[in-house]
């Protein structure tokens, strides 16, 4: 029995071992191979998670029903490893050009992904909490990575203080749910008792706040722009994608595991719906005003959180749309942040002004960046369009038609600031142009793969969605009543 459990979590164990190895190698000053080892770790995890064996495409529970493995959980593991892997493509080049020889980051990146995998595959609020904190602590350090740089310090401080603060609410919520339901495990919670005890609403509310903070929903979003602006650019991309994807999936699982069994679910869904709308409006509106590209993408990531929150209102179908959305968003946003990093000079912020004419000076760069931006804006035939489409269609199926329409309006309005960047890149000139000078080939390879994937999933989303559909059915999500 115990053995079986260990076999189930082999991908996570492999990644943890990789992380430990990276720390050792760093300690013994074997540093040139670190990115490669980390890359092998991510690829290995993804491969080990592949449901190769017979019957492995059914999601199962391991470790006393604490954690999901196989099936849908494998898919999630692969997605999160992919986010780590693509961050890696941009990282070593970025650190070299910024002249910051930091090698702890590879182990941190690996451990952050371990935390994400635990968070997204938890069937128990204890595991959710541990995963969330493992991930968050790594992210705090990432934000403050450049310790002589005041901006990075400030980003780290803000992220850390507010993150710890929100954790307080989150764990308080867990404590109250535990007190009411008699367990922290979704499989053995006593929902009748929870409702009777009166702890349901405060518990639910406080846990929601923890999740809403992590996914940077309005009004818990305030840390996002400051932290992303101050963090090293490729890592900002990682924070905006991987950590949010994990938090969203955990959030979705939480809602789908608890809400169908309680009577107040409509109330909770209304709250999330309203927050989704505010988040979309806030993110899109403020992004228009931004001059710094990183800050603009930070606000845009707030807006994107709004869309995914809208999907979470829509039950299992929405969760499916959210998983697809976060996967596509991971691909396009890591690409966009990575490319901003590629054009960033030492100790200088990426300013829209310097990017003017960049597309004419460097057509391949301009074309690839346009793919990412068009995809973020949700313009067909790129994958960003398909992912938005699934989100809005799931919201409409769940009768959130008004929210879906408002969401579509904000996303159309939001396209403006992405396209403004493209226009600047191709049709304007500037006095102080930035140039793209990468120190190795990896960022270029990463950009190529990401752009190709966005085109592929835009033209042929069924390659992914049919599989997703299949796994969701096997994971038994559709037997529950939809809200």
């Amino acid at each position: 029995m115990f053995n079986q459990d260990l076999i189930h979590i082999i991908p996570i164990l492999f990644l943890i071992a990789t992380g430990l190895l990276l720390m050792m190698l760093d300690a013994f000053k074997v540093r040139s191979v670190l990115p490669l080892i980390a890359g092998i770790g991510f690829v290995g995890t993804a491969v080990l998670a592949l449901p190769l064996q017979e019957g492995m495409d059914v999601q199962q529970l391991a470790f006393n029903k604490m954690i999901f493995t196989g099936g849908l959980a494998s898919l999630v593991t692969i997605l999160l490893s992919v986010s780590g892997l693509f961050t890696l493509f941009f990282l070593s080049d970025f650190l070299k050009r910024q002249e910051k020889p930091i090698y702890d980051i590879y182990a941190l990146l690996v451990f952050a992904v371990v935390g994400m995998i635990l968070l997204a595959n938890a069937n128990d609020l204890i595991v959710t909490f541990i995963g969330l904190e493992t991930m968050s602590i790594c992210l705090y350090i990432m934000a403050a990575l450049f310790k002589r740089d005041l901006k990075s310090n400030e980003a780290g401080l803000k992220y850390f203080l507010l993150g710890a603060f929100a954790t307080g609410f989150f764990i308080y919520g867990i404590a109250l749910i535990y007190g009411g339901a008699g367990s922290t495990n979704y499989s053995s919670m006593d929902f009748a008792r929870l409702q009777e005890s009166g702890l349901l609403l405060p518990g639910m509310g406080l846990i929601l706040i923890g999740f809403l903070f992590k996914v940077s929903a309005f009004p818990f979003h305030a840390w996002t722009p400051d932290v992303y602006s101050g963090s090293p650019t490729p890592l900002a991309g990682f924070m905006a994608t991987g950590s949010k994807a994990a938090a969203f999936i955990a959030f979705g699982i939480f809602l789908n595991k608890t809400l169908p069994d309680v009577v107040v679910n409509e109330k909770i869904y209304n709250v999330i719906g309203v927050i989704a709308l505010l988040t979309m409006i806030y993110g899109n509106v403020v992004a228009v005003q931004q001059k710094s590209l990183k800050r603009m993408l930070a606000y845009s990531s707030i807006a994107h959180s709004g869309y995914v929150l809208l999907a979470l209102c829509a039950g299992p179908e929405g969760l499916m749309a959210a998983v697809f959305y976060m996967f596509i968003y991971t691909l396009m946003n890591i690409g966009a942040f990575g490319m901003i990093g590629m054009a960033e000079l030492k100790d200088q912020d990426a300013d829209l002004d310097g990017w003017k004419g960049l597309g004419m000076r460097n057509p391949w760069f301009g074309a690839a960046m346009s793919i990412f931006l068009f995809s973020l804006a949700g313009i067909p035939p790129l994958a960003g369009f398909m992912s938005k489409y699934f989100v809005f269609i799931s919201a409409i199926h769940a009768k959130y038609t008004l929210l879906a329409i408002l969401g579509i309006i904000t996303s159309v309005a939001g396209a403006f600031y992405y396209i403004r960047v493209i226009v600047s890149m191709f049709f304007q000139t500037t006095e102080k142009p930035v140039e793209v000078k990468t120190s190795n080939i990896y960022p270029t390879i990463g950009v190529g793969i990401l752009a190709a994937l966005l085109l592929l999933f835009g033209l042929y989303p069924a390659a992914f969605t049919s599989q997703l559909d299949h796994l969701f059915v096997l994971a038994d999500y559709f037997t529950q009543a939809t809200p």
């Binding site: 509310g205 406080l206 706040i209 818990f220 109330k267 509106v285 398909m386 989303p461 069924a462 969605t465």
Partner: protein
């Protein structure tokens, strides 16, 4: 993957290869033979594949799917295709005529600086057209529908440096947009109706046609009307036909392929495909018939007074499309498709012949405009191959017995008459009368064009640069199409022979397994053999009479003939020459008021209201952004306060509301 997928994918692949190589490689652009050969191959192989399917067809449609496009809980859109009787026949026409025109273009476009782009667009057009006719659902069909429109737009404006040609492309684009809008509306209605009727939303043709469209008259009526409006755009009927004559600004092979043989017939294809819906919308059917007849008559009248060889052919295309719509209006869907086929042969041949003539005339450098028939004459002497093929195609379109056009046109008139006789609908007699008169006009103006171009006096002064016959790549397609124009009609012998059992196209192919609905005409039964013989005799007489009259008239008077007609008809001839001032009418009724309103009334509205709204939204967003961003003070304490405020509001709502 199914081998049949290559039918769809090869033209796309060809377009991609030619496009990419042409874009990156200067030297590739100069390899005319390679580009042309590759382009042709990418259409010829699908032709072969369709032919194989056609010959091996065994009563069961072949389905194949390239991939599922969108798969989501309730919606499933896939790139699925069906090869059934109707789509196979259309596919043969498109790829067959398409291959010939590709070959022809190798010679015709020689030396053009956009050579590779031309073949890129042609291959892309074939790809889109195959999507349109082979698609098994309306989403794929619509993709093709838009695709052919876009290719047509690119190709009309192919020589975009010329402002008039770019304007013609714009006009085609706008007219097609109106139709496309109706198409979209029809698709939404169909989608909605399938969902309501069966609980399963679908755009698949099999699901759509499986419904009982007789049950509810309202959606049936609107769907039929909207599809017809969409067809008037793409297939150039009143009131949207105005773009087609202007579309002759494109290279002549394009006129032959897109604006005569294939794209413009897609409206007819679609109505035939959805015949099951149309037969339950009788009012719309009568409307289609009368609109077809009026279009045919109007276009034929205009064609008589045109001097540009391509303009005459363009108006004759509009007129012939009108005939097809008459057939559709009478519920004779198979007959309409039959005419699509014969028309593809003889009209493609005529256009390619005109291209050959223009090629030759431009070469002489003796005339200002190589398309004006008044400056031609006696080209028979210089261009024997072009002459003979043009001649037989003229006889075919005029409806001379035993040539292909005779069979299809006679069948159309017969079906329309039978509809009037059996259904007792007076309107169909009117349609028949107009149709018969138009047939006579057709014989007359086509003979005129032929005569003024190839016979009579030599009205140009070549100064030693005699016009010469075109190269073999151009004449071979002419011969093939000319041959088909002569014999193509025998697949549809009149009903009177062996009760229609010799009419292969209606009885053994299209109508055989209900692919194209025959119900309407079958229900009406058949007119007696005597009446049918009389009708055949009558059609023959008007065709022969028209040709004979024109022949004698122009032999006698040559170019003076036009002046005589002009004097006879007086004011009417001026109207015909000026295309009944329809363009001017549209200008006056539609465009001018908009412009004037734009300068006067709307200007004010625009300035103070619309601009106000647009700028207002812009400044409101900026203002809001300015306000909202103040929330982001940069102080950790304020951020924590926001979180706590959020907690308070959320918990208050959860507890008290």
């Amino acid at each position: 993957m199914d081998i049949n997928s290559l039918i769809i994918l090869l033209p796309l692949f060809g377009a991609a290869i030619i496009g990419i190589l042409g874009f990156v490689s200067e030297s590739f652009r100069k390899q005319e033979a390679l580009i042309g050969g590759l382009g042709t191959l990418m259409v010829a192989v699908p032709f072969g594949l369709i032919l194989m399917n056609f010959l091996g067809y065994h009563e069961h449609p072949v389905h194949f799917r390239i991939f599922d496009w969108i798969v989501s809980g309730t919606i499933n859109v896939s790139f699925g295709y069906t090869l059934d009787e109707l789509s196979l026949l259309m596919g043969l026409i498109v790829t067959g005529v398409g291959s010939l025109i590709h070959i022809y273009s190798i010679g015709y476009m020689h030396g053009d600086k956009g050579y590779y782009k031309f073949f890129l667009y042609l291959n892309l057009f074939i790809f889109a057209m195959l999507n349109l006719i082979l698609g098994d659902n309306m989403a794929v069909m619509f993709l093709g529908w838009e695709g052919v429109g876009a290719c047509s737009y690119f190709l009309i404006g192919f020589w975009y440096e010329d402002m008039a040609k770019a304007a013609a492309a714009q006009k085609a684009f706008v007219a097609n947009r109106i139709g496309d809008f109706a198409m979209l509306a029809a698709m939404f209605l169909i989608f909605d109706y399938t969902g309501k009727a069966t609980g399963n939303y679908s755009l698949n043709f099999s699901d759509i046609l499986g419904l009982d469209w007789a049950a509810d008259s309202a959606p049936t009526f609107w769907v039929a009307l909207l599809v017809f409006i969409a067809a008037t755009g793409k297939s150039a009927q009143i009131p949207l036909y105005v773009w087609l004559p202007d579309a002759m600004a494109g290279p002549t092979p394009v006129s032959a392929l897109i604006h005569a043989a294939t794209m413009v017939t897609s409206g007819i294809y679609l109505i035939s495909r959805l015949g099951e819906i149309f037969i339950h919308a009788e009012g719309v059917m009568a409307f289609i018939g009368i609109m077809g007849a009026l279009t045919a008559l109007l276009a034929a009248l205009i064609a008589i007074a045109q001097n540009d060889i391509k303009k005459v052919l363009a108006y004759s295309t509009v007129s012939q499309l009108g005939f097809m719509f008459m057939a559709l209006g009478a519920g004779a869907f198979t007959t309409a498709i039959f005419h699509v086929m014969t028309h593809a042969f003889f009209k493609a041949c005529l256009f390619l012949g005109s291209g050959s003539v223009i090629h030759a005339m431009d070469h002489t450098h003796a005339v200002e405009d190589g398309q004006d028939i008044r400056t031609m004459g006696n080209l028979k002497k210089y261009m024997p191959a072009t002459h003979i093929t043009f001649f037989v195609s003229t006889l075919a379109i005029a409806g001379i017995p035993l040539f292909s056009g005779f069979f299809s046109k006679d069948e159309i008139l017969g079906k329309v008459f039978a509809n009037g006789l059996m259904g007792g609908e007076f309107i169909y007699y009117l349609v028949w009368i107009i149709g018969a008169f138009t047939a006579a006009l057709t014989a007359f103006y086509m003979t005129r064009v032929y005569f003024l171009t190839f016979r009579g006096k030599e009205r140009f002064n070549a100064h030693g640069h005699d016009p010469h016959e075109s190269p073999a790549t151009m004449t071979i397609p002419l011969y093939v199409l000319g041959f088909l124009a002569v014999v193509g009609g025998f697949v549809g012998l009149p009903e009177v022979f062996d009760h229609g059992h010799l009419n292969w196209i209606s009885h053994h192919w299209l109508g055989h397994h209900g692919t194209v609905t025959m119900e309407h005409t079958e229900d009406l039964g058949h007119v007696s053999a005597g009446i049918e013989w009389a009708l055949i005799l009558f059609s023959s007489l008007i065709a022969i009479g028209g040709v004979y009259f024109a022949w004698n008239f122009y032999t006698k008077h040559d170019l003076e003939g036009d002046t005589i007609i002009k004097n006879k008809l007086g004011k009417l001839y001026d109207w015909m020459g000026n295309k009944f001032y329809v363009d001017e009418l549209y200008e006056f009724v539609l465009i001018k008021p908009f412009v004037r309103a734009g300068t006067d009334v709307i200007m004010v509205f625009d300035k103070y209201v619309l601009d106000g709204i647009v700028n207002g939204i812009g400044s409101l967003t900026l203002f809001l952004a300015d306000v909202f961003k103040r929330i982001q003070t940069g102080y950790v304490g304020n951020y924590a306060l926001m979180i706590v405020a959020g907690v308070m509001i959320l918990l208050t709502y959860l507890f008290f509301f």
